[in-house]
Subunit: 203 residues, 2 copies
């Protein structure tokens, strides 16, 4: 096998190290986070580091990079207290990727990248109309990861919108049917194929 | 679309809510965490909530459920200060799933579920020989998520073992070639197909 120790990892060229370390945690779902500022200026950004925190109460987390530079998504979540998480359907993965470009604050990525914002329910944050799975959350907790100054933003799930036909009577969402796209690192996209659903394991 | 508000979510039957909320955060990679206690008793457990925290320094995080009940993985990480993260190749997803059964402390899931432990490098935690991507970490930070008493365990990446032929000269790991299996929730498995690799996005 190829072996890399701590010293070899630390001396890799930056881009190589970024690719390598990003790959180690595996595939992620590509999700679009919709926010607004208090003046109504909307923002949309692709995130791959969204985690399940718990089902009861229903919570979801986002790992957010250090906020030393201007971060519209973070500032909007802090000022309005809410955000939406929207799955990216396969046919729109290029549009979703484009939201990672550094647009200025006056530009809405919805408009620049070909998505339709939708305000509905009880939150001011915009949903992505084109998404088959849309989740509205309020900010519940902000945790600093001191090892590298990243943040874990924990959201409380307040509203769920699902396209018809992708959820069964057990509450199971058929993500492959929803065509949710996957991402590795910041730029490599995949789709998923169903393999199996296994029963609860017993010794 | 199907709409669920906070009250409807909270009144769903437990299993339906668990399935639903687990699906909202999308696909995850299925990863095996290898640990040992100080007496050398080894443990192996499947986790799906592993996140990329940063590349420099190289960090990876695990969302860990509340530790009110006996949790061998957590106790071993705390007592030895280290763990391994191993990708699950497709042909062994049933074995990997079986590690989620509640074996007693005296049982090694390596033996019970058909994996081969391997001690190598500088850490006492066992790697999974059958895995194409193996990562050794030390515990860097333990963070309590107060919203539901789950934990974020942040590990510092100390050693990486990769099968030959799955990493390119840019450091990019070909996860589809490594056959890394994906999981949704606790029991539904998928494989991934490469779609595209896009350039850095500019406005």
């Amino acid at each position: 096998m190829i072996v890399l120790d701590a010293i070899e990892i630390s001396t890799l060229p930056k881009q190589q190290r970024t690719n390598l370390i990003n790959g180690l945690s595996g595939f992620k779902s590509a999700l679009l986070i919709g926010t607004t500022n208090v003046a109504g200026q909307q923002n949309l950004a692709i995130f791959s580091n969204v985690v399940h925190i718990g089902a009861n109460p229903p919570l979801m987390g986002i790992i957010h990079r250090p906020v030393s530079v201007e971060k519209h998504t973070y500032e909007n979540i802090k000022s309005t207290g809410c955000f939406t998480v929207n799955h990216v359907p396969r046919k729109l993965y290029k549009n979703a990727h484009q939201t990672s470009a550094r647009y200025d604050r006056a530009t809405s990525e919805f408009e620049a990248c070909g998505f339709t914002p939708e305000i509905k329910g009880s939150l001011p944050a915009p949903y992505v109309t084109e998404s088959f799975i849309q989740v509205g959350l309020t900010l519940e907790e902000e945790i600093k990861i001191t090892s590298n100054d990243t943040l874990l933003l924990v959201g409380s799930i307040k509203e769920i919108y699902l396209a018809p036909g992708i959820i069964d009577e057990e509450g199971f969402i058929e993500l492959a049917k929803a065509n949710t796209i996957l991402v590795q690192g910041l730029e490599t996209y995949y789709t998923a194929n169903f393999v199996d659903r296994l029963p609860y394991a017993k010794p």
